[in-house]
């Protein structure tokens, strides 16, 4: 009787777990393992050649011109990560604070901040490519109208401003997400705790740095981790705004674009190199998995019960 029940229960569990498990294996685990495997072979087009041990990894990391392209792309990802950390998450925190304190106009801004988040990246990329157009774009037109004509630039066309412009578009698109998370964190702080601080100091700075931020920081874990993953997987926005080459002159090249060009070739005729592409993919995956994992575990520890 007892064993029968147990088997019945086990059967149920198995039946419920199987479909998602099969799905995950088929579409996530299998491709990752394949990429691992591909990275160890030589490829010519889609035909697999010899098993070459770590040669592909060695190539993308140490052989020119691949190595310097890898470093160039990686350094741009790092830049994007920190720039977005400051401009997207930092601005998100500031916006959340203003919305939370219900400063004038907060009703309008609460909606305005969250609206872009629901747009697809494709649309946002296209929109901002138009906005940044040197001749017809509203950005330059606006600057001129404000009498700031000397500030007009070919924003996406010169290597000093291109990456900044894409980062800006990204921040505009996604700032609502950290804002939402921070706002939720702030709203969880009990009102009497805030009153207690007001009894002890009138400095807004002390209040933010010593009370609000420490109490909100734990909920930032998810924001930081997702930003990290997003910044190192960055692809759609630069792809749409500046194209596969990371133009101009590779100044917007990031790992995502570089991987795509390497694995699948590009218009300018470079042949696809599946082996090197897979090696890059594996390296990106390991880097993100290890750092994001550590980050999450470290920050989880700081969580505070209110």
């Amino acid at each position: 009787m007892f064993t029968k029940q147990l088997t019945g229960r086990r059967l149920w569990i198995a039946a419920l777990i199987m479909p998602p498990l099969v799905f995950v294996c088929l579409f996530i685990v299998y491709p990752i393992i394949s990429a691992f495997a591909y990275a160890f072979f030589e490829w010519s087009g889609l035909a697999r050649g010899d098993f070459v041990w770590f040669e592909n990894f060695h190539k993308v990391l140490f052989v020119e011109p691949f190595a310097s392209r890898t470093v160039n792309a990686f350094s741009h990802n790092v830049f994007v990560f920190f720039a977005l950390m400051v401009f997207q998450n930092g601005l998100g925190f500031v916006l959340a604070y203003f919305l939370w304190r219900e400063l004038p106009g907060f009703r309008f801004h609460r909606i305005a901040v969250f609206l872009p988040v629901v747009l697809s990246t494709i649309v946002v990329g296209f929109l901002w490519r138009l906005f940044f157009h040197p001749l017809f774009g509203p950005v330059n037109a606006g600057l001129k109208a404000l009498g700031l004509g000397f500030l007009t630039q070919p924003w996406l066309g010169q290597d000093t401003t291109a990456l900044w412009s894409i980062v800006f578009a990204n921040a505009w698109h996604m700032v609502g997400f950290p804002t939402l998370v921070f706002l939720a964190g702030m709203q969880r702080i009990p009102g009497e705790v805030l009153d207690a601080v007001r009894m002890e100091t009138q400095s807004e700075w002390v209040k933010i740095t010593k009370i609000v931020w420490p109490l909100v920081a734990p909920s930032a874990t998810v924001v930081f981790t997702l930003l990290f993953v997003g910044a190192f997987n960055w692809f759609e926005l630069p792809y749409i705004m500046v194209g596969l080459e990371g133009s101009p002159h590779g100044s917007t090249d990031v790992l995502g674009l570089y991987f795509y060009r390497t694995a699948f070739g590009n218009q300018s005729g470079a042949p696809p190199d599946f082996g090197a592409g897979s090696a890059l993919a594996v390296l990106i995956f390991l880097f993100i998995a290890i750092v994001a994992g550590t980050l999450t575990i470290r920050m989880r520890r700081r969580e505070i019960e209110l």
Binding site: P190, E192, V193, D195, A196, R198, M199, E200, T201, I304
Partner: protein
Amino acid sequence: MVDLSLRGIKKRFRTVDVLHGIDLEIKDKELVVFVGPSGCGKSTLLRLVAGLDPITDGEFWMAGTKMNDVAPSRRGIAMVFQSYALYPHMDVYENMTFGARLMGLDNAEVERRIAEAARMLRLDALLKRRPKELSGGQRQRVAIGRALVRKPELLLLDEPLSNLDAALRSEVRLEIAKLHRDIGGTTIYVTHDQVEAMTLADRIVVMNQGRVEQFGSPRELYETPANTFVATFIGSPQMSLLEMERDGDRIGIAGTGSVVPGRLPAADERQVIVGVRPDAVVITPGEDGEGLSARVVYTEYLGDNAFTYVRLANGQLISVRCTPDTEFAIDAPVRVGLLPNKAHFFSSATKQRLPA
């Protein structure tokens, strides 16, 4: 070193008037309790004093300085909140040093004050714990400690015992009374529990619907309540209020009987409200005789005391304190008499006390 003066304090939230003009003079070193039913505006008034909400109209003075526009942290006031409001991410020690450091005290002074507060409130063993690792009573003591290390000129406590169980309540109440004796600063204490109010206060402010009904010592409030609200709010079981008619030196209720209450009010209104506390009434068994006729409803036996509830012939219920060995059958007929000079008289029209 501070006396407080509240002059015509009003508070309005958008369209709701919550306080309708509060005037109070609170003396230096006094422990004043605000008491009143839920929603009467006690917390609101306390928050105005603390500076956490702006005063709509009227003036608040501390030690001769007008405080209306002074920031809460500059008023020399510390507050203990109902939910304790400890900083969840700081341990007990940090909770207590936070405010003291912000006052610009040097380290040695902060350490000295913490040691003193920790000793007084028995917190030494808890200094490294986070608030969530403390019991309710311990959190309460930390909250008080945090207020004390700032050595405030005025200490505010908003229902500090309401989250504690009954046993802990009376214990912490004694501690607060002792602290006030030892430290001796001006203190305002908010509660809706009249026992807390009576046992702690030098003077009590009885509030009702945004107004002060009476401000006086516990004895004054109990012995000479200013109106029927205070009369029924202070004392347990409640004072019974009877609509009665005066006739010479007797007062009576038509169809129920009459009694001789002793001292009568000076004013010569015929219709008066007579207030009798359970200890001002005596009952004797029987249908006939002197007094008001009534029937027993039930008896509450409390060991050292017993309260018998009787219903007068006109339907009104009154409570009577009896010796614990008296027993009345339910529905037994009794006569209700008054002890001399124990009744309170209030005007039927204004509900205000009628002086003798």
